[in-house]
């Protein structure tokens, strides 16, 4: 069967476990040397040519044993916070009582007269 992928010799050693663990550690938010060290440790534990699932299982064990936090931290070592500390206040919806149309029209003229008087300084 024709295939575009290069043929791999059946007796060639399987590096997929190594590639998988290296890919994972490259994607971690840690220094490169620490990443390589972690990959090396997990490969040693799982075996040089172990399949990816085995190597990754060992890597996760090592991460748990070494208490490597899953979460990210800031420069001071505190967990990264995307928001400032809460400063809660109560916010209530405004009262929006409606005038009926007839009432609004009825009130319109007296209200205008009141405003005009107020502008002219009439206290009544």
């Amino acid at each position: 069967m024709a295939s575009n992928t290069p043929e791999i010799h059946p007796l060639a050693p399987d590096f997929s476990g190594r590639d998988r663990v290296l890919l994972y550690t490259r994607g971690m938010n840690i220094s490169p040397s620490r990443g390589i060290a972690l990959a090396l440790r997990s490969m040693r534990r799982a075996g040089e040519y172990a399949p990816p699932c085995k190597v990754m299982e060992e890597l996760f064990h090592i991460l748990e044993e070494s208490d490597t936090p899953i979460t990210m931290t800031d420069t001071a070592g505190n967990p990264l916070a995307a928001t400032p500390p809460l400063n809660r206040r109560v916010v209530l919806a405004e009262d929006m009582v409606q005038h009926s149309l007839t009432r609004a029209l009825k009130n319109c003229v007296p209200a205008m007269i009141r405003r005009l008087r107020a502008k002219q300084g009439d206290p009544s």
Binding site: N29, D74, R89, V90
Partner: protein
Amino acid sequence: MTPPLPWTVAGNKRRIVLLLLIIIPSFFSASVMYALLPNTTGLALKGIVTLLFMLLFSWISVGFWSSLAGLYIMLRHVDKYRATAGLPEGHDLPDTFKTALLFPVYNEDTRMVAEGIRTVFSSLRRLGLEQHFDIFILSDSTDPDAWVREEEAWYALTQEENAYGKIFYRRRKSNLKRKSGNIADFCRRWGANYRYMIVFDADSVMSGETLARMVQAMEHKPDIGILQTPPKAFGSRSLISRAQQFANHLYGPIFAAGLHYWQLGDAQYWGHNAILRVEPFMQFCQLPSLPGRAPLGGDIMSHDFVESALMRRAGFGVWLAYDLDGSFEQTPPSLIDELIRDRRWCQGNLQHSRIIFTRGFFPTHRALFINGIMSYGSALLWFFFLVASSAQAMAEIFVVPSYFPSGPSLFPDWPQYFPKWALTLLGGTGALLFLPKILALSLMGWKGEAKNFGGFGAMSASVVAEVVISTFLAPVRMVFHSFFVVTTLMGSRSGWNAQNRSRETSWWDAIRFHWWGTLLGFFWGGLMYFANPGFFLWLSPIVTGLAVSIPLSVLSSRVSLGNGARLLKLFITPPDITPPTELKELKRTLRKPLPPCPFLIPREKGFTRAVVIPRVFSLHMTLISNSRVNSVQKTCRLDSLVTKALGHGPEALNAAEKIAILSDRQCLKTLHTKVWQLEGSSARKWGIV
């Protein structure tokens, strides 16, 4: 009773003048129209046509007189009621408080939003003002991929700009009350930390200098509750958006100055590119849900108009800073996107019919609610007017005129035509529509700013081209707006979709959207052509626009045509000639390639990235907080989702399932661990090769 503020007296006088300027000419033109219409078709139809004409004439008069008032202000150069009058030189701000810059986002193009924020932040940093502002990305995103993209973008921004503790990100689990609820949620959590907040749109950008001037204006005048800037369009590429950007830059400043002339401290808040005084906003401007169900009940959609009315009711002014530059926004890239947005705005504005008579609102704000309703209602009136006019034209053909009245009479009743009156009316209506454009053109020429529009010749040609495009698009907008009004009143509600800000319209989309408008155009035009060819000529601009709406919609969305127009020096705007630093920087950063990533998972696949890429997984785990212990049912459900995801890959999960996984730390951790232990094709489904 407190004495009225000085501007309220001037405002009342100006509004009375405006009312007279609208009412008197409208009555006069309606009487001319009535005299021009033949008597043969009955008084009822004649009366309806005249009444509709009067309403429409009044409506277009508002824009006309606003433009004239704007021209008056801009020529006079002195405006004692300017919101920014009397501000100190420079952009120094007090150290005693901070201002929050809010970017509400909803399933947006994350890169565009992030680069916009970077631009604003860099602009502030250049002026040494960044310590006076905190930036909040307030997400209401419901798309799991967008959620993770936003987190990644926030993290990258804080790292690259060294802005940790200055740029914040918060995603709401519930989208209660949409954008207004999003802002209210911010106020509830952190509003007390800030004296002012400046609200942005997802695609808007403002310069640091403008932000500083806004804060200074609020400090200088403590009676201002909301200060709105007039945003200028930028970044348009398609033909329609280029034309709109040109119109916005040429006619916009005069119109904004005119609005300020009438409104003064009773202006409107447009929902973004505005600064708000936080304390009164929290105390007096929170919106209730309207009684009843959507579309006219429920959450208030066009919240901004209502918030400005509430702020005014609380005794604070709402001002339009028409003279502030450095405020930008983007326009929809196509007619369809514009209409989708209008559908939402139409529902929001019609909802205002429920709150016009709210106790304590000022008359100007009640009038502005009516104005908002008329923005879409006028389309229906125009449609009715055209239908009634067509009916009148048809009746002229089929109804036999009666020249001899039934009663005793010395003379026959001959139909009379007044061509001079007809031409005067046509000329008057034309002047209302086109004179503001000519005045804006003349003003720019007179001020020597034509070079910013490609020169006076190019600017004039662009005005002609813009008028042609608007003329063809106007009937399409009319039928759609009429449809929106009718369907909203009949109970149909619009959804809340993310806005498209870049896509061109495909032929298939155009056919799907415009087929009925096209049929209407052909049917209406054909009917009039055969029944009354004389009237068909009058109607032809309308029916032609409708008949060609499919190609019009597609071609006007084309970026190539927008570029072509630019090569011909059409629709050139000041940002094209001398782009402000902020827009130049935004363009540069948007072109910058993204940093390489060892994983072959595209950035759009946010969910997959959060499950697979250790750094993104860690970031997401850090930012979500669910400390509750899950119920047995929920645990079972999440377990089954993990099994499904492992067996069939991320594509097998729907958005709700992805959100459920992303929201649960334990579930996500389990999936992450197991995905990395998959082999062969199962691993490839997750992008692990």
